[in-house]
């Protein structure tokens, strides 16, 4: 399940539903929607967008670290997907398809030096304290400490190579299992684990004094 720092149960449940593996009834209904969208049914495509918009947004947020960019890139991904709807395969999960577009857009965005400069100028936090972690709220000293830790973690994540950052985001913030990550990225599970190891080692080195 994707973790957002909201504490809003409704949102968490909704995201959980969109992330349920496509099986049985859900599989049939998604297949029907994809088939209809492929034929140009705008409403069917709209339903697919509504089902997957949060997931696409949050994975983009994890990859680019900016609300505005994540919103822009995830919406652009759906617009491009609609343009290319004829290549949709009803027998394959829709999210795997849209995810490939989202990640490509995000990687291009990260590589674009001009937007990178802009991003640094407009940097805003993209992480938040988990809903269950409330101890800091009553202790100003601890709150400041947590805030600094969050900022350092964000900076360390931003500096990770894109492939490592992607796997870390999918595991830590999307809550996907290794098998799911491997399927989504079409890489072996061993590669998922190696990238996670490299990402975590980099983060641990950068946060060494506080770990």
């Amino acid at each position: 399940m994707a973790r957002t720092g909201t504490g809003n149960a409704e949102i968490s449940v909704e995201i959980a539903l969109t992330q349920t593996p496509v099986t049985g009834e859900r599989e049939d209904s998604e297949r029907a929607l994809v088939a209809a969208a492929r034929e140009g049914d705008r409403e069917a495509f709209g339903e697919l967008v509504t089902i997957y918009m949060r997931r696409a947004y949050y994975v983009a947020l994890g990859l680019v670290g900016s609300h505005d960019d994540a919103l822009d890139l995830s919406q652009e991904a759906f617009a491009r997907a609609y343009r290319a709807r004829e290549s949709l395969d009803p027998d394959r999960p829709f999210y795997a398809w849209i995810y490939q577009i989202v990640r490509r857009l995000c990687f291009n965005h990260i590589r674009d030096r001009r937007t990178r400069v802009k991003k640094l100028e407009l940097a805003t936090p993209f992480l938040a304290e988990q809903a269950g972690v409330r101890a800091a709220a009553t202790d100003p000293g601890r709150a400041a400490e947590r805030s600094e830790l969050r900022a350092r973690l964000e900076a360390a994540i931003e500096q990770l190579p894109e492939r490592e950052r992607e796997v870390l985001v999918l595991r830590e913030f999307e809550g996907l299992r290794y098998r799911e990550i491997a399927e989504l990225l079409v890489i072996p599970i061993g590669t998922v684990m190696s990238r996670l190891y490299s990402a975590r080692r980099s983060l641990a080195e950068k946060l060494e004094d506080v770990l």
Binding site: A2, R3, T4, G5, T6, N8, I11, R42, G46, V49, T50, M53, R54, Y57, Y58, L61, G62, H67, A70, L71, Q75, E76, F78, A79, Y82, R83, P125, F126, L127, A128, E129, Q130, A131, V133, L149, R150, L153, R171, E172, F173, R177, Y178, G190, M193, S194, L196, Y197, R200, R201, L203, A204, L207, E208, V210, L211
Partner: protein, 155 residues
């Protein structure tokens, strides 16, 4: 232990440490991890560091988006698609009109007997150059792009 055996041993230890952090250890693997780590203080140190890091990452989540963005998310997506189509048609129309206007203008200039010959020559040279550039770009996009066998391979 040979160099390749040591590398394999380290790789196995790393994977087991990751699996432990993410709750993906298979039956029997915990014992294997404990055995490996017990004989290697460096790995034990690294494992502890990863466990502390995991506590930190587990305490953080992606910042929630403002709830109102979801209300018109699909409408925004559709507008983008519509505008994309609009741009394509507008661009095609503009190219046709511009080409026609340029052609007519050039025709008039060339027919103008008061214009010096070198201005007419410069005009023809410029147009010829533009056509060569256009053909070159189109050829690159269509022919060369299509022949790149590994263009879709992700590095």
């Amino acid at each position: 232990m040979s160099h390749s055996e040591a590398r394999g041993h380290d790789e196995r230890a790393r994977r087991l440490m990751m699996a432990e952090l993410d709750g993906e250890l298979a039956a029997g693997e915990r014992d294997e991890l404990e055995r490996i780590v017990a004989g290697d203080p460096e790995l034990e140190k690294e494992r502890k560091r990863f466990l502390r890091l995991k506590e930190v990452t587990d305490s953080m989540a992606l910042k929630p988006a403002p709830a109102e963005i979801w209300d018109d998310y699909w409408t925004s997506v559709y507008k983008r698609f519509e505008r994309g189509l609009g741009w394509i048609f507008a661009s095609i129309g503009a190219i046709i009109l511009l080409t026609y206007g340029t052609w007519k203008g050039v025709e008039q200039l060339i027919a103008d007997t008061t214009l010096p010959w070198f201005i007419k020559a410069a005009l023809v040279a410029m147009l010829f150059g533009l056509v060569v550039l256009l053909v070159s770009v189109v050829r690159e996009k269509v022919l060369i792009g299509g022949q790149q066998r590994y263009k879709d391979v992700e590095r």
